[in-house]
Symmetry: C2
DNA sequence: TTCAATAAGGCAATCGATTGCCTAAATTTA
DNA sequence: TAAATTTAGGCAATCGATTGCCTTATTGAA
């Protein structure tokens, strides 16, 4: 049933008593083929159901219209929206996407990189995994003549184009907003500090405290609270302090903020009156909770579009220029009820 | 700075005064190479930073360890979870994934298929777009010797392996549950009927009504309500009827159910006492709403895993057998407060 | 010591498309 | 009409890896 043999340009050539080179030229719209034979070739190509073999073509031409994308998890809103944004642009350009997920594992990230190198992709778009160890694998990308664009979670030490979200500014805005709403003891749920994004968010938190002359209270800063459960657990701890916080900034994610809200509801603590809560990323559910959650919109789709456009407009064209350039996608503070103490 | 030339097996051969064939054999772990030279080759391969060119290898071997996936939208939870499930399996097998989104457009779906055919992927996993027109493009997949597995939204006319969610059974269960809770006039928000999944959900709805001897009331069945906004609009209409429904089954999605809930809250209608609401797909937010939403869990991750396993266990091995086989992933009714009138 | 069997590795074709170079025919120009 | 130029299309190498076949060299058996 299955035609194992696919038709090649040689089949077309044989049928028309021509040489494969003419067929190739006709199909690629090249000159040096008369209009009559060109039409004939196109017609028989259609008849024989011919499809170009991209592998052969790419091999010969030494290029590959394929881009590799590595993200920690495909099925996280933030990343799947970035991928959607990337895909929108690359599709227009006729490029293919090979998508890999590192599952937050360094080992697996290395394997993904190796696979993509073997595939000779023309560029890799990467957001590093949570247990990032070192950038040897990223260096080897360049060694094999492959471009690299980092986004969101990046290795600062590496000299590549980067597309970032303004994490520090956003966190600064969040904390400023909390302070202006009258909150006095603001706790921070922070993520793994080997990731730039969490370092930056913490920096923004600290900068805002400093600006307003607030003291830095170490016991109000909690590490590794990035799931709903961990957010809840950290909140239990915080609320058990002799001097508990009156606001919690879940800088890790909206899920952590949800965990905070869970605990507040269980304990009958009024949000935002007794406790202010702010998350990060503007997940869908943040406008459904009671009260609705203040959060930060990161424009993930735009981040993806920018990454892809960066490749086509800069990296692909002027490779030597592709160093240490950073694009910042400015996030936006979305103020909702969970922090509106004053209103 | 960039080493444009990547090392090939010929470079290694030249350096060691060997023939490329020996290098190839050594690297592929083949016999016919002495252990001494094999070690030598592996060592120099590492020194020269050699990476196999998958394109060349695939071309020669006539195979391609790549699978194409086409989904309506990458950034929809249901689909991104399926992709994550697929990726988990294919990654283990050393296969790559090329992911495309049709954006619910038939034209674009056709283009995606063509791209994947050109890429010589070994199999395509597909869920059809909402404005599906005909299956010509799907037929051409087989004509080019490429396997096809359909999942979730499938073309029934086509003779392929399929992985489905038990939509009809699930809808039947939903409506039975509503009836058992004492709801008397149950409305249906339905999706485009050219998609099998929505036809099946409607069939389940009708079957349940029939079983319980309930009449089919056409004015309670509303088409194309699959977003939050459209769900809200349909609800406004329904509640404006002389005899409004006392339950609404948003078979299209949880988002539509959310729209229903919006309207109920605006109008001060008590859920579940005055109006029962049930959604579909078990989105994260359904357990956050007030009241929590009854819905259907589809186990999207498992669907993805099944699709991929199907390929490796059946389709790849016994191609001739790959016809008209259907795997059903049984969904589960998640009963929450929005339909618990009795309790 | 001789012959057979095995091991090690080279040669060259192949996968399918592309492209530089060359030739023959057709067309233009002088 | 002859020379110059353009056009059409063939030839063969190439991209990098693989593999069937063949040739030596080596080992073992008789």
């Amino acid at each position: 049933m299955e035609n194992k043999k696919r038709t090649t340009i040689h089949d077309i050539a044989k049928k028309l008593n021509l040489n494969a080179s003419s067929v190739s030229r006709a199909l690629s719209g090249n000159s040096n083929v008369s209009d009559a034979t060109k039409q004939l070739i196109l017609k028989t190509a259609k008849e024989l159901n011919y499809r170009q073999n991209s592998m052969a073509s790419n091999l010969r031409k030494g290029v590959n219209q394929t881009i590799g994308v590595i993200v920690p998890r495909i099925n996280q809103n933030f990343f799947s929206n970035i991928i959607a944004g990337i895909e929108e642009v690359t599709y227009q350009k006729g490029y293919n996407l090979i998508i890999c997920q590192s599952n937050e594992s360094y080992e697996r990230e290395v394997k993904c990189v190796n696979t993509l190198i073997n595939q000779h992709v023309s560029c890799i778009f990467l957001s590093i995994s949570a247990d990032f160890e070192n950038n040897d694998h990223l260096k080897s990308i360049a060694e094999h003549g492959i471009k690299l664009i980092q986004f969101d979670r990046v290795d600062d030490d590496l000299d590549t184009y980067k597309v970032l979200s303004g994490n520090e500014e956003a966190a600064f805005e969040v904390v400023s907003h909390l302070i202006e709403q009258g909150y006095k003891r603001i706790a921070l749920l922070e993520g793994p500090q080997n990731l730039n994004i969490f370092r930056q968010r913490k920096a923004g938190y600290l900068a805002a405290l400093k600006k307003y002359g607030f003291p830095i209270i170490e016991e109000l800063i909690r590490e590794n609270a990035w799931t709903r459960e961990l957010g809840a657990k950290a909140t239990e701890d915080l609320l058990g302090l002799p001097e508990p916080p009156d606001a919690i900034f879940a800088s890790t994610s909206d899920f952590a903020a949800l965990g905070v809200l869970d605990v507040a509801q269980i304990r009958g603590i009024k949000v935002p009156q007794q406790l202010g809560i702010c998350g990060f990323s503007n997940e869908d559910f943040t406008e459904i909770t009671q009260p609705t959650l203040t959060t930060v919109e990161q424009f993930s789709n735009e981040i993806g579009e920018n990454v892809a456009n960066l490749y086509f407009q800069k990296v692909k064209k002027v490779p030597s220029d592709a160093h240490n350039k950073v694009i910042n996608i400015k996030p936006k503070l979305i103020i909702r009820n969970s922090t509106l103490k004053n209103s």
